[in-house]
Symmetry: C2
Subunit: 458 residues, 2 copies
């Protein structure tokens, strides 16, 4: 057999997982693998960046899972500082710029994996490019932000109250920087329901963050350097600004090459992670996935999904067979001691889908109520009306609360109804949970509601 050449565009979770899996199944004399990464590092934990900036993680090298040297030992040629500028599907080649050398050249491929990830949203706010304004999406951003915090800023403003914004705010207040957070929506964590989001907003205030919701940033002010952030309602002084305005799939390159995008705006792939274009695959934040509950195409930017998709892609490239079944959008985060998690669909998403649902919310404790360290946990569950099928769950609580979301994820994944879930044989001992785990208390309450509602219909 002729040796085939696999080119991977983007050297993070999805791309390098695909490369590794393909290599595991096909030797270097059968398959050549080259990965191009425009940044300075491959395969690192972007989710760890706020914790490096906040000095929780001391050394950024610890965030790197594998270096190009380690990939080389595995027979994978991972080239950092190499930006793919264009993909030519007809000619089967990519145009690659060596950023250090400042020159471009063509690289042929037999198979291509597009793993360009996501890019931060940067709306055209005046002053957004002033020195002192930081993003937090690539490793260098984390290094820069850490250095800026080390320099002892007088006041910081975080723009955006999603994961990155809240994690950045945590980093700043933990390091003693007076911090304001400006969020355009009515609450932080806009992807969870307002009632649960309000708890997170409160937690954000409780750790000392000045929180301004329903305020849009109109300008970043400064003279050669950031000096303040102006919203519709006020001007907040700041010598350090962190942007957490969300992300979008980085599909510019793919789009220019004529690679098909789906309705979510991300690259359309089948369950094996193939695009409709011969030999062209895609994985990670830049591709769309099927939502397991709604069946709709969605595009989430989560490292867990990118890793799994990269693995599926690589198994197929290596001659195996694997499919990626879809996503639930399970996610977890924290603002200092308050943990937040979600899975499945939120009420806003359900309304958009035209579904009808019932919810139950319960307060419980992470351990037996009488056990030292028992911490509050609020659990909200959402089930389809009548069928009682679990559609979503959200948790806000303290230490030990949030990871319980995974039990809901497993239940939703399997299409369980709340009245079946009540019987799930979950573990119990006083240091670990009440005898009825908060997960079960929530579904028990909701199953009783669904039953009452059914009887009222008869």
């Amino acid at each position: 057999v002729a040796r085939t050449r696999l080119v991977v565009v983007g050297g993070d979770a999805a791309g390098m997982s695909a490369a590794s899996q393909a290599r595991k199944r096909r030797d270097a004399d059968e398959l050549e693998i080259v990965a191009f990464e425009r940044g300075g590092h491959v395969s690192y934990s972007a989710c760890g960046l706020p914790y490096y900036a906040g000095d929780v993680v001391k050394d950024w090298h610890d965030l790197i899972a594998r270096t190009p040297e380690q990939f080389a030992e595995q027979g994978i040629d991972a080239r950092t500082g190499h930006e793919v500028e264009a993909i030519d599907l007809e000619a089967r080649r990519v145009r690659v710029r060596d950023l250090a050398a400042g020159r471009s050249g063509d690289e042929p491929f037999d198979a291509l994996v597009v793993a360009t990830g996501a890019e931060p949203l940067r709306p055209p706010i005046p002053g957004i490019d002033l020195p002192g304004v930081h993003g937090l999406s690539i490793l260098q951003d984390g290094i820069d932000l850490r250095r800026a915090i080390d320099a002892g800023p007088a006041r910081a403003v975080v723009v955006g109250g999603g994961y990155i914004g809240l994690e950045a705010a945590e980093a700043l207040v933990n390091r003693g920087v007076p911090t304001a957070l400006v969020e355009a929506g009515p609450q932080v964590m806009g992807h969870i329901d307002p009632d649960m989001g309000e708890l997170v907003s409160q937690a954000t205030r409780d750790v000392g963050v000045e929180l301004y919701t329903e305020e849009k940033v109109e300008a970043v002010e400064g003279d050669g350097r950031v000096r303040a952030v102006r919203t519709g309602s006020r001007t907040l002084e700041a010598d350090l600004v962190v942007l957490g305005l969300g992300t979008r799939p980085a599909v510019g390159l793919a789009e220019a090459a004529g690679i098909t995008l789906g309705p979510s705006g991300a690259i359309a792939v089948n369950a094996r992670m193939q695009t409709p274009h011969e030999g062209v695959w895609a994985a990670g934040d830049c591709v769309q996935a099927r939502h397991v509950v709604s069946g709709q195409p969605v595009n989430y930017h989560l490292g867990t999904i990118a890793n799994k998709q990269g693995r599926v892609c690589g198994i197929n490239l290596g001659g195996g067979y694997a499919t990626f079944p879809g996503v639930l959008g399970t996610a977890v985060s924290r603002i200092c001691a308050v943990e937040v998690a979600r899975t499945g669909l939120s009420e806003a998403e359900l309304a958009q889908l035209g579904l009808e649902w019932e919810t139950a919310t319960v307060d419980s404790t992470t351990r037996a109520g009488y056990f030292p360290g028992a911490a509050p946990i609020r659990t909200k569950v959402v089930a389809e009306r009548r069928s009682g099928r679990l559609l979503g769950a959200q948790i806000v609580g303290r230490e030990g609360a949030a990871k319980r979301i995974d039990v809901f994820a497993a239940a939703i994944w399997n299409g369980m109804a709340v009245d079946d879930m009540v019987h799930l044989d979950l573990s119990y001992a006083p240091p670990f949970s009440p005898v009825w785990d908060p997960v079960l208390i929530a579904v028990r309450k909701l199953s009783e509601q669904v039953e009452r509602d059914l009887q009222a219909c008869l």
Copy 2:
């Protein structure tokens, strides 16, 4: 309608759950509910007793979920200090002894719930009844043991290395009592596989417990008071002994009444918790349940199961409809900082069933490896050969490790195969887990093994 009379025998988790649920659905003018409990308290957390003895829980009143007075407000007549001596199925009455008054009388019933629970095994070891030898099954045992530890014993011996034995050993060493533990089997936690059990044995030694495995206690020695415990190999001085020799279903009363027992030795019930005898129900530690994986009748003594069965029983007694689908034997415990959990079937149980299986064991961390507080977690998974259906899982690790067993429980409950489980959309953020949660790393490894094994068969 004539008022019917429900008599509940045994006032703990199963019995009082059944009473409460029945009351929720039927008013006092329709249904009279009387519960007889021979002990001094109803509805308390027996699982909390070792932690009260160990002074982790300061006040034993905190272990009481509800008092007879609270049940009375709900219209449930819960009588402590009342021992049911006999059940007469023909005459529809029970013989009840008022222990304080020292007299017995008959109490009629229309419906009966047998919730007599489990009783500790007390083999006929010479000296087992000497003062200073403690059990740890009812509230008074916990109060007595706490008082005995408060008195400052010189040396303690714990007999039996199951949950109760290990929790008692933790209590003793935490309170500074030099403690030895004698276990007849080759390891502590005999219900988990030997390779995982060895970790727990090591953890037990590491906290300073002198551990003697494969040693049977032959006698408790003493002269009016315990002085030593003699095994086949040595004599261990002790002025305090705690017995944790396991439990059996308390079915003497039921058996004497002619109530049918199942092959597990516990009371046989259908999915609605009915015995074959008209109007006679049973729930909790004294009844047998179907194991969801094996389909076999089993009898576990776990508060979680007792609560769920009591609830199902009470819903049915109240005129509703509910069934109890079965158990996985999910359980969690700890010996000081080391957490242990299991669900599904162990290798020994699989061998007994004649099934063939494959296992994978992985070491990971509870948080991202680089994140402070990342603690070791070893996860073992067992899947059926060829089908890859998950059959069991076990976890040994440190803080934050063990509760992950619930994700396995949900997956096994739904009959998931390990290669499907790999795709489960579980939550991730650096303070909560590695990007591949240990649960997923374990099933990923096992699914690769199952695939290789399948290919080797072709």
